[in-house]
């Protein structure tokens, strides 16, 4: 873009962010394809893990109900949502930690690139992995249960999944900022993952939870994503009126991303001032 040309400030900024997104995506893809054994290992281990998670749940049902279509549907969408939560915490949130460990965090923060883009560069291969795993689980669950996985409203399902990823990015940015601040999260990611999965109704509706826990569930953003996804895919009733739940999910996607972005800027500035940016 020529200096002093006709481009507006907004379009220049958008172009810059787009370029940064492309560069981040390119890095993400290069890293993903550098380790083909990991891709192969993911493809083999995903169904094995699915069986390991599914069987303990099925043991609560009588054997004649194991082939139920509803269980298969719940399980399939639960696995998809699990990937989304993992992407948020392990993919985006922990990206800061992996940059710290590789010793590239300081170099990244010396650039004038958008901070949110820097920390979401793993998003490309996380998205690729999510798509691959979803397609794979779709076939696997159908083979396992012998029941078709049907989607009642395909377009709204895609819309909800896009919103889920937006929320995952926002949540991941906030979590990533926390890691930037505390340096070593230890096992926090693993603990948080189980807490979110348990309380957000990833595999089941939160209506089955004890009343006090339901209050916590209502405060978690993934609860509404899971609820909407099951509604659009399986026709289950929603927790809130449908239009309100859509509105809430959209608002959460915007608010979490804005909060995450501002938090990164604030923490980076503070760490630079106190000289703790490179301490870990």
């Amino acid at each position: 873009m020529r200096l002093g040309g006709g481009a507006s400030f907004l379009s220049t900024s958008l172009l810059k962010v787009l370029r940064e997104l492309c560069a981040a995506a390119y890095v993400g893809v290069r890293i993903y394809l550098r380790y083909p054994m990991w891709i192969l290992s993911d493809l083999i281990t995903s169904p094995l893990w699915a069986v390991v998670i599914l069987l303990p749940i099925l043991l609560f049902l009588p054997p004649e109900a194991w082939g139920s279509g509803v269980v298969a549907q719940n399980f399939f969408w639960g696995m998809v949502l699990w990937y989304v939560v993992s992407t948020s915490l392990m993919g985006i949130g922990s990206a800061v930690r992996s940059e710290q460990q590789m010793g590239t965090l300081e170099q990244l923060l010396l650039t004038n690139a958008n901070r949110a883009v820097l920390f979401t560069r793993r998003l490309t291969f996380e998205l690729f992995s999510l798509t691959l795993n979803t397609a794979y689980m779709y076939v696997f669950v159908q083979l396992l249960f012998g029941k078709p996985i049907t989607v009642e409203n395909p377009l709204p399902v895609l819309l909800v999944l896009a919103a889920a990823m937006a929320i995952a990015v926002g949540f991941g940015l906030i979590y990533g900022t926390l890691i930037l601040w505390i340096k070593n999260p230890g096992a926090l990611s693993n603990i948080l993952q189980f807490v979110i999965m348990g309380l957000s109704g990833i595999f089941y509706s939160i209506r089955g939870l004890p009343a006090p826990l339901q209050y916590i569930s209502y405060a978690l953003p993934f609860t509404y994503v899971a609820d909407l996804l099951r509604h659009e895919a399986m026709g289950t009733p929603t927790l809130l009126p449908l239009h309100l739940e859509y509105l809430l999910v959209a608002a959460l996607a915007v608010a979490l991303n804005a909060a995450g972005y501002l938090a990164i800027l604030h923490v980076e500035k503070r760490l630079k001032r106190t000289g703790k940016l490179g301490v870990y």
């Binding site: 281990t45 893990w49 069986v51 069987l55 043991l59 609560f60 189980f194 089941y204």
Partner: protein, 277 residues
């Protein structure tokens, strides 16, 4: 005598170093203690949600155990303990490679395979703490801990079950020395072990050929014996078939593991690939 003293010094050095690293990140220890309860809670929560008030009755019918919380807590604790030991040597080597301290181990006055095995002791200490902190409260609360002798017997079975894992760990370590990046292969082996060991379900849910295949894994027998002792309250005779199989595996796996490690290490040395990573 001098050799023993040198080995003891090396063992102490490795122990102190690894324990310092563990204690530097205490949240991991708390996480290991909390995870079995959390995973068990998750399975139970989903189970109640989908099956309603008949969940426990169905569970008892499918597994022969009427306490699903205890069943899954014990299963997860054992899974964590065995998986940490299984991947430990491989990841310790990889971590030394990445830190640039791998070659220094060849200057130590002890064979490298022995040094890598020594890494298991500090990690085992943490795992014992985790296992006790996880299983004792839930066993005591459930009232299934009939006598301290039974508990000691269970601990001995667990210790015996760790010996074959040492062999598998050495074989995985050989892969790291030879092929460097272990993550994908270790993850694959772990997934197969977790699937076939039956930490979270009785193996009778699988077809007969899968159950037969699972008999080559030491963890399958450890879990089966511990369930008999702690969950079903059954005695396990020292001549029990599962115990004898475990004993045989405790001899066979370390021999195979050691052979693989020494062979692949010498191959890497011969090709000049030891320091390439």
């Amino acid at each position: 005598m001098e050799r023993v003293r040198r080995l003891a010094r090396a063992a102490l050095g490795v122990y102190v170093k690894e324990m310092k690293i563990w204690l530097r990140y205490p949240t991991w220890i708390f996480a290991f203690i909390a995870l079995p309860y959390m995973l068990s809670g998750l399975f139970n929560g989903i189970g109640y949600s989908i099956a309603g008030p008949r969940a426990v009755e169905n569970f008892a019918r499918n597994t022969g155990v009427s306490n699903p919380f205890l069943f899954y807590t014990l299963g997860t604790a054992l899974l964590l303990a065995t998986e940490v030991l299984l991947q430990d040597v491989a990841y310790s080597i990889r971590s030394e490679q990445l830190l640039g301290t791998f070659e220094l181990h060849y200057l130590a006055p002890a064979p490298t395979w022995l040094i890598w095995i020594l890494y298991l002791f500090p990690h085992s200490t943490i795992m014992v703490v985790v296992l006790l902190a996880t299983t004792l409260p839930v066993l005591a609360f459930s009232g299934v801990l009939s006598s301290p002798i039974d508990f000691l017997y269970a601990c001995s079975v667990l210790a015996l079950g760790m010996l074959p894992l040492l062999g598998i760990a050495l074989a995985l370590a050989a892969l790291v020395v030879r092929y460097k990046e272990p993550g994908a292969v270790v993850s694959l082996v772990q997934s197969v072990v977790i699937l076939l060991s039956g930490y979270f379900y009785p193996l009778t849910v699988f077809p007969a050929w899968v159950s037969a295949l699972s008999q080559v894994l030491p963890t399958t027998h450890v879990i089966s014996i511990l369930r008999s002792l702690l969950l079903a309250g059954e005695g396990v005779s020292p001549l029990d078939r599962r115990l004898l199989t475990l004993l045989a595996l405790a001899v066979a796996y370390p021999v195979i593991g050691l052979y693989s490690y020494r062979r692949w290490e010498s191959e890497a040395r011969r090709r000049g690939e030891l320091s390439k990573y």
